[in-house]
Symmetry: C2
Subunit: 176 residues, 2 copies
């Protein structure tokens, strides 16, 4: 059910996804939404965002552990490019969708903020291990996260992964 919510949030955004869509997509029983999520849509959106954020954080962890930052960014760009192309530019980052959620689901917004902070901290830690000063590491980590999130947005709108790839090239050039 949470996974279905994530899929739909990615494709349509939080506001445009109804609980009926979620249960229909997941095959879950409609009557039990408020049994598992007494807080209604707000709670479901928050937990889905938290789950998605954690999942991407694990991806970040794997990447920075297995390669230097520049190569990690490269693989990250490949990953998102594949997501965009496979979905015909319908699917974007679920956390970005949550970040732009309307007021009645602002729990998802704070979950998105937590996720972004977590990602930045992960990257900043890896950069510090490679000799960057704390200030540099924090700024560069913020740039990487923001640039990739923004590139996903721009690439979706333009229906080409060119912006994402360009951003990847520039980030790698700078991190190398």
């Amino acid at each position: 059910m949470l996974d279905s919510a994530i899929v739909l949030f990615r494709e349509r955004g939080v506001a445009a996804t109804s609980l009926r869509d979620v249960v229909a997509h997941s095959g879950a029983p409609r009557g039990s939404i408020y049994h598992h999520f007494p807080g209604g849509k707000q709670e479901l959106a928050s937990e889905a965002t938290r789950r998605a954020g954690d999942s991407i954080a694990r991806l970040f962890t794997r990447l920075v552990a297995s390669a230097d930052p520049a190569a990690a960014v490269d693989r990250l760009v490949d990953h998102w490019s594949g997501v965009l192309l496979d979905s015909d530019f319908a699917s974007t980052c679920p956390v970005a969708a949550a970040a732009l959620a309307p007021d009645d689901t602002d729990g998802a917004r704070v979950a998105a903020g937590v996720a972004f902070e977590q990602w930045e901290d992960l990257l900043a830690g890896a950069l510090r291990e490679r000799g960057a000063t704390p200030g540099e590491a924090a700024d560069r980590a913020a740039l990487v996260v923001s640039a990739i999130e923004g590139a996903l947005l721009v690439s979706r709108a333009r229906r080409t992964d060119a912006p994402l790839r360009a951003v990847g090239r520039e980030l790698v050039r700078q991190l190398a």
Copy 2:
């Protein structure tokens, strides 16, 4: 009316903004929506996005004409930081909101794509004038646009302009 739509799209996103909200906010007569916008919400969202995109393109033009790229990015960051703080992190980029619009308003999405492309071209032109090769200029322009859009998203979610400022510092460092 278009301006009211832009304001509301910025705060709530396209999907969560109803036509009734728009007319109420603008004071415009409700009965005349389909007189001025026969295409309904789709047309209104598309035109509003186009209008907003052009407005920001003019801002870009002014900035790159009056300063070198690094200083222009600096002023751009100041501008958006002011927008975020003044609105208590409610207002973001209207074109980003359009980029994540749901399927039934995908006209706004293509308008967002056009706007992004326009901004990138403007910046790339300025960078080429300063001696960058076309490839470099295009990649860097894409990075600037994506990074700032992403930073707005992240800053909204985290309710602090720190990510935006960090991204600004890194971009300036790189462009200098």
